[in-house]
Each structure stands twice: as structure tokens, then as C-alpha cells.
């Protein structure tokens, strides 16, 4: 495995919910990332973010890792769920909430 791949693998496996995005949760740098954050905020779950703009290796690496051409990308318990469109579709259908409950990551530890 390449360095970037190893690092991404560690991030994905050590966080219950992690969003690879452009910018930060407070200051998303693209509309799609902003939408992804809004969904996660609305669900009230705890999550980690990785700003791909700060790291060119991760920015390219995450696309190869998931075989997915764009950012943001959401991982839950090590599984790639999709980008912001899929998050929105799942959210609107109630599937995202259901999945988080099934994976027992429904609420942020306070």
C-alpha cells in the first residue's frame, strides 16, 4: 500500500464517522461539502472531518481508495457510503438515520 492509502485506511478505521471534505466543518469550502456537514449536523451525530485541501496526497488518494471521483466522501465504521448526493437521498428516505442506528453511532457522546 502507498503511504496515502495507509494513512486513509487508518483514518477510516479509527473513526466511527468520518467525512473527507473541502474545508472544515465550520468553514466548508464547497457547496457539496457544506451540504454534507448540514446533514450530519442535523442528525446530531459526532463525526470527524478531514480537509483534503490541506493535503494533496489525501486529496488524490481518497479518490483512488474509494474509486469515487469527488469529495466529500462519507465513511461509517470503515464502510464507504457515498458523496453528498447519496447522503441527501438516504437522509430524505430516512435510511441514513436507520443505518447510523444499526451501526450504533446514532448519537454523539456528550
Amino acid at each position: 500500500m502507498t503511504d496515502a492509502r495507509t494513512r486513509i485506511d487508518e483514518i477510516v478505521k479509527s473513526n466511527d464517522i468520518v467525512l473527507f471534505m473541502k474545508g472544515t466543518a465550520l468553514f466548508p469550502q464547497c457547496g457539496f461539502s457544506s451540504r454534507a456537514i448540514a446533514i450530519l449536523d442535523h442528525l446530531g451525530v459526532g463525526f470527524e472531518t478531514v480537509d483534503v485541501l490541506q493535503d494533496p496526497e489525501i486529496r488524490q488518494g481518497i479518490k483512488d481508495y474509494s474509486d469515487w471521483p469527488t469529495v466529500p466522501q462519507l465513511y461509517v465504521k470503515g464502510e464507504f457510503l457515498g458523496g453528498s448526493d447519496i447522503m441527501m437521498e438516504m437522509f430524505e428516505a430516512g435510511e441514513l438515520q436507520q443505518l447510523l442506528e444499526e451501526k450504533q453511532v446514532a448519537r454523539a457522546p456528550s
Binding site: 457547496g31 479518490k63 471521483p69 457515498g82 448526493d85
Partner: protein
């Protein structure tokens, strides 16, 4: 670099021949699109895979030439 809507449709159609495709130019700048792709061939595939199949038809243009494509996929009712 902007990409005309009919080129997107042609590419998707080539890869998913039975697809019903609707494309909206969201900003009128040839760079921000919304696409809805409905195909029987999506049946039984998870959403991630359905989207991946559409991205595959665009052959690496997604995220480069084509900056923003809001995508939704579905199976015919």
C-alpha cells in the same frame, strides 16, 4: 472547463443504453449540473454502485472537466 449538457447525456447513454436521463444546467454556466438517471439495470445495486456506474460512463471527466454534477439515480417504477 465547461461541458455541454448534451455531451454529458451522450456519454451516459453510451454506457447505460436504457437510461432515462434528465439534465439541468443549474447555474447556466455549463459547469454546474444536476442529472437524474433512471435505469432498469440499477436494480439490485446499492446507491454507491449506481452512482459509480454513472461516473464510469463519464470516463474520468467527473471532478476535472466536469466540476459539479448533482446526481440522483433510480429504478423505473
Amino acid at each position: 472547463m465547461p461541458m455541454p449538457a448534451d455531451q454529458i447525456e451522450t456519454l451516459i447513454r453510451a454506457g447505460i443504453p436504457d437510461a432515462r436521463i434528465e439534465i439541468v444546467d443549474l447555474a447556466g454556466d455549463g459547469d454546474h449540473y444536476e442529472a437524474r438517471v433512471v435505469s432498469e439495470s440499477f436494480r439490485g445495486q446499492p446507491r454507491v454502485r449506481q452512482h459509480q456506474r454513472v461516473y464510469e460512463t463519464l470516463g474520468g471527466r467527473m471532478g476535472t472537466e466536469l466540476h459539479a454534477l448533482k446526481l440522483s439515480t433510480a429504478i423505473p417504477e
